[in-house]
């Protein structure tokens, strides 16, 4: 089985306000099609780890591999391109471009990738919205929809370029149990049927239990 994402000896420090060792020797890997959840107390460094893995945060020590290629110390522009094509990210809080419509928000990463025609991108985006049962919101401005809806739009956007891995920082944190279950099922299907790898931070024990593997963090370390 091939490895999609691998972290080797990752250490990170916050230097301000005082020197703080936030990630301590993190080692783990995510295989293709694997659904992994990360749990741990608030403040143990889960979000920090995700930002490092997502290539947005480059201020760390150690090695990060995507599809067995070292991506540590790559140029920022190259990392942007990697994020665009291979990594989908769902933030802890819903994050949309509020001046744009829901559909435009979902289409943006694909337009940036520019591998498909406008019509194809629009079609794909509608497909993702349908999958998340929010296709009726397509033409609405992003700031006019509810928090839970925003979160699902963000998930659709993360999926639009069919990335190798999706990272989620409490992607179901704002959803009711019904929609949370729906999102979980979608993730599950994508990982099983389409080989999508998922790495999801969650505080929801029931959610975590249904994933392939649970990583538990404590004080910047992965303890299991």
């Amino acid at each position: 089985m091939s490895t999609v994402l691998e972290a080797r000896h990752i250490n990170k420090y916050f230097k301000k306000p005082i020197l703080f060792h936030v990630l301590r020797d993190i080692n783990f890997s995510v295989n293709k099609g694997e659904f992994v959840s990360i749990m741990g107390k608030s403040g143990c460094g889960k979000s920090t780890l995700l930002y490092v893995l997502s290539t947005m945060d480059t201020d760390y020590e150690g090695g990060l591999y995507l599809n067995d290629k070292l991506i540590t110390n790559q140029s920022r522009d190259h990392l942007s391109a990697i994020r665009n094509k291979h990594i989908g990210f769902v933030f802890q809080f819903h994050y949309l471009l509020s001046d744009f419509t829901v559909l435009e928000n979902v289409m943006l990463p694909a337009k940036k990738l520019a591998e498909k025609s406008y019509q194809e991108i629009e079609h794909d985006a509608m497909e993702k919205l349908k999958m998340l049962k929010i296709e009726h919101l397509a033409k609405k401005k992003a700031f006019r929809i509810s928090g839970g809806e925003k979160q699902r739009v963000a998930i659709a956007r993360a999926l639009i370029n069919n990335p190798a891995v999706i990272m989620g920082d409490e992607p179901t944190g704002n959803l009711d149990s019904h929609n949370s279950e729906n999102v979980f099922q979608i993730f599950k299907t994508l990982s099983e049927d389409e080989g999508l790898s998922l790495l999801v931070v969650t505080h929801d024990e029931d959610f975590a239990k249904q994933t392939n593997r649970i990583l538990t963090m404590e004080d910047g370390r992965i303890i299991s």
């Binding site: 979000s47 930002y51 997502s54 947005m56 945060d57 920022r76 522009d77 942007s80 391109a81 990697i82 994020r83 665009n84 094509k85 990210f89 933030f91 802890q92 809080f93 994050y95 949309l96 471009l97 509020s98 001046d99 744009f100 435009e104 943006l108 990463p109 337009k111 940036k112 990738l113 520019a114 956007r157």
Partner: protein
């Protein structure tokens, strides 16, 4: 590789949703450029008019015989005193004639010079205008009216008449308007003049001369060369002055020096004659540009401010764009293009407003005694000003947008995302 359609569509959305700020920023540019165009067209028009007032009538080189003391006094010629220090008291000017010796060959010679547009003969003399028992002193200048009109725009300063009318009449006079007023004379009337040497001649008024300089208009009149020569009882090679017009005014100084040396005449160039006048033009231009540039810089700061604000408001958007794969450059281009769009739209509007305002000013009546041919405010609508104005709009918005957009390029998405 930059995906411009995508970047422009994002900046368009940003600008349209913040239409109020966009409009204000654009109006800043519009105001700056519009007032620059208006100011510069109006001021340079005014400058050109004032320049014309002096320059058109003034020969680039004026050649005449100056009455002055000889530079070499007889004692200097005597070898015995060569090495001594000579003091001569009560020097008197040398007696010489006003007539330029060999004037006609000199004029021919000058007209053959490539730098010379035209060299015109004149006869200047003092006369009295006689009205009943009153005698008013004045100047009468004999000219070639058609050439004067051609080279020195004489026609601009003739009211109620024309240079052709003077040319065609054997004893016509173009009377200074000041004299005409004093003596209540109309075109068609006769005026009597008397040269200093005596005799009275009756001349027919074919028009009035109005230079705009009141002191001059109160004494100066013109006739044909032949008429003056006849009044003075001189032959047709009696020429007292030569007015030279050049193709390039910069040649005035060297050529006048050359004429002085070659012909032993006095030759005054326009730069020496009107030095203080050029200073005035320079200062007016300086003020025009200082004010315009200030306006544009103020507009530039407006754009800088608004763009800074816009970027501050769009922090979230920047973080999301970067998180989903837009590079720092892409984000910088998004804000840069917004600045440029503001500059472009504002600049075009500014040009239109500037054009409208100057066209409007161009129709406002501006009547002044001093300038007989001017009907409306003078406007110099030089396309170059529009090019400069538009270029400045783009350059200033570029500079104003550059720093804020550079900041957006450097924004760390993680910091923004954490802030929530």
């Amino acid at each position: 590789m930059t995906n411009w359609p995508l970047i422009l569509s994002i900046s368009k959305t940003h600008l349209l949703t913040k239409i109020k700020q966009t409009t204000i920023a654009s109006l800043g540019v519009t105001f700056g450029i519009g007032s620059y165009i208006t100011l510069v067209c109006f001021m340079t028009g005014l400058n050109a008019m004032l320049d014309d007032l002096i320059l058109n009538q003034t020969p680039h080189i004026h050649v005449y015989n100056e009455i002055e003391p000889s530079e070499k006094q007889p004692v200097d010629l005597y070898d015995a005193f060569k090495n001594s220090f000579n003091v001569v008291h009560s020097i008197k000017p040398k007696l010489s004639q006003k007539k330029i010796h060999n004037a006609l060959p000199i004029i021919d010679y000058l007209n053959e010079d490539d730098r010379v547009m035209g060299a015109l003969p004149q006869v200047k003399t003092q006369i009295f205008y006689i009205a009943g028992s009153i005698e008013i002193g004045g100047n009468l200048t004999g000219i070639n009216p058609l050439d004067e009109a051609r080279f020195f725009r004489m026609g601009d300063y003739i009211v109620d008449g024309s240079s052709e009318a003077l040319h065609n009449s054997d004893n016509g006079i173009l009377l200074g308007i000041g004299i005409a007023k004093k003596m209540s004379l109309k075109v068609g009337d006769r005026v009597q003049v008397s040269p200093i040497s005596g005799g009275v001649f009756s001349l027919k008024i074919v028009g009035f001369y109005q230079s705009g300089i009141a002191d001059l208009d109160a004494i100066q009149s013109f006739t044909n060369l032949k008429t003056v020569q006849r009044i003075l009882g001189e032959t047709n090679n009696y020429i007292t002055d030569i007015s030279v017009k050049l193709h390039n005014i910069e040649d005035a100084v060297p050529l006048s020096k050359k004429i002085e040396q070659q012909f032993d005449l006095k030759a005054v160039d326009i730069k020496t004659a009107n030095a203080q006048f050029e200073t005035g033009t320079t200062i007016r231009n300086l003020i025009t540009y200082a004010v315009s540039i200030t306006l544009l810089i103020v507009a530039g700061f407006g754009i800088y401010n608004i763009l800074n604000m816009l970027i501050y408001e769009k922090m979230n958007d920047i973080a999301i764009l970067k998180a989903t794969g837009f590079s720092g450059k892409d984000v910088q281009f998004i804000f840069m293009s917004q600045a440029m769009i503001i500059g472009f739209v504002g600049g075009i509007l500014g040009l239109l407003i500037g054009y409208g305002l100057t066209s409007l000013i161009d129709t406002i009546p501006f009547k002044t005694e001093a300038l007989p041919t001017i009907e409306t405010y003078p406007i110099n609508m030089n396309p170059l000003f529009f090019v400069i104005g538009f270029t400045f709009a783009l350059v200033s918005t570029f500079l104003a947008g550059y720093l804020p957009s550079k900041k957006s390029k450097k924004i760390d998405p993680v910091k923004i995302i954490r802030r929530q």
